[in-house]
């Protein structure tokens, strides 16, 4: 599924310039441990986390993730937003807690 469709269906807030919401999402990975994401996420995955510091962008860039969803109404740090723009990593927010967001996301894209 294309990222833009997921953004629309889940009512996510897009924090970065919405130029590249056409990338194909290959599934999702949910974790707040950066090393875990480094080790186990797959290329094109959407990453769900509550971490908001700039390093999440580095991880997403290195693993070629399709984007990051910040849960529970958390907002990205200013530096994080700047880096995300630089690296063109789509950064999205939701007011939902992780459990509910991931439930909805799973219903959308399933076990891909």
């Amino acid at each position: 599924m294309v990222l833009g469709t997921i953004v629309e269906k889940l009512g996510l807030g897009v924090k970065t310039a919405p130029r590249d919401l056409t990338s194909e999402v290959t599934g999702a990975y949910v974790s707040d441990l950066l090393s875990d994401v480094m080790a186990n996420s797959k290329e094109g995955n959407l990453w769900v986390t509550l971490q908001v510091h700039p390093n999440i962008v580095a991880v997403a860039t290195l693993k070629d993730l399709s984007g990051i969803i910040l849960v529970n109404g958390r907002q990205p740090a200013e530096e994080t937003l700047k880096k995300a723009e630089e690296e063109q990593i789509p950064l999205m927010t939701t007011g939902l807690p992780t459990f509910q967001l991931v439930g909805k996301l799973y219903n959308l894209i399933g076990e891909c």
Binding site: V2, T22, E24, D32, L33, L34, S35, D36, M38, A39, E43, T49, Q51, H53, P54, N55, I56, V57, A58, V59, T61, L62, K63, D64, E79, E87
Partner: protein, 315 residues
């Protein structure tokens, strides 16, 4: 997916290109005082269906093949162009984006628009749908050629070097405790290796291993250096710091073992997976450390697919 991406590229170009870049500048024009009978040869010889009427450089009207036919039926071929031309001409400006032109063609259904200078009203050129298509194709071809040249340069990097042995060295300084800049070295190295045309698989493993090593420097030390040595056969990343050192390397290698303080863990670091991740990604890994002096880590990834890779041996 491919379709959507191509549409996006064209859409991007339509906003990027200006009307002035794709219009035809060498325009055939007539003056208001030319006679309608003079149009016959012009329309036939040049195979055009409309001509802008220009008086002292300024556009004053447009005379089309329909105007000509109507004039012919009325039997008024001796009248000057200014009596038969359309004075209410819809124009475009040379400095507006092409997307406006596309919209106007859609809206008005005209075959052509004269292009004028926004300030002076001077005729600059003329644009048809065909010009837009040609302009877009040309721009896409130029972009594609640049991309091709770029790709060629990158992927033939080593082949173009004449030497018995080639090693490229990239060095990065890592600042300790600077979480804002953490990850820049591994991102930078990844980009560099990609431009050299190294296989994405090898790059991914190197990027992960280098990232973990970089984070170790940031979290635990006051700073260090990361040096990547690239040969056609392998990439060796050396990570050196003068930090606290590791008391028990064997224990530090165990997945989940961590000495990171709570505040670091709250940031999502210090999961005790770093060295384990490095071992998983590297073809060879060498770690030596002296408490109070520092740590030296060597990570090697082979670029030749035939070489053994997978879980590396640590020593």
């Amino acid at each position: 997916m491919v379709d959507e991406k191509e549409i996006t590229k064209v859409q991007e170009l339509v906003y990027e290109l200006k009307v002035g870049q794709v219009m035809v500048k060498d325009v055939i024009t007539v003056t208001p005082h030319n006679l309608m009978s003079e149009l016959r040869d012009l329309l036939r010889d040049k195979r055009i269906s409309g001509v802008p009427v220009v008086d002292k450089g300024r556009l004053v009207g447009l005379v089309s093949i329909e105007d000509f036919i109507k004039c012919l039926t009325d039997g008024k071929m001796g009248s000057p162009v200014e009596e038969r031309m359309n004075r209410n001409v819809k124009t475009l400006y040379d400095n507006e984006p092409l997307v406006h032109a596309v919209k106007e063609f859609d809206r008005m259904g005209y075959g052509r628009f004269p292009v004028v200078d926004r300030e002076s009203g001077k005729l600059m050129g003329i644009i048809t749908k065909g010009d837009i298509i040609r302009g877009l194709l040309k721009k896409m071809e130029i972009d594609y050629q640049e991309e091709e040249i770029h790709r060629y340069r990158a992927s033939h990097f080593f082949e173009d070097i004449v030497a018995d042995k080639t090693t490229l060295i990239f060095q990065y300084n890592v600042i300790g405790k600077d979480f804002d800049r953490a990850g820049e070295t591994s991102s930078g190295l990844k980009k560099t290796l990609r431009r050299m045309g190294i296989s994405p698989k090898a790059i991914r493993r190197l990027a992960i291993a280098t990232y973990e090593a970089e984070m170790n420097i940031v979290v635990f030390t006051d700073g260090g250096e990361i040096t990547a040595r690239v040969t056609p056969q392998e990439v060796r990343v050396e990570v050196v710091d003068s930090g606290p050192g590791i008391p028990d390397i064997k224990k530090a290698m165990e997945p989940g073992f961590s000495t990171a303080p709570d505040w670091i863990r709250e940031l999502g670091f210090g999961a005790g997976m770093g060295l384990a991740n490095i071992r998983k990604c590297a073809d060879a890994m060498h770690l030596e450390s002296t408490v109070g002096k520092g740590t030296r880590l060597e990570i090697t990834v082979y670029l030749n697919e035939k070489e053994k890779h997978g879980s590396g041996n640590d020593s």
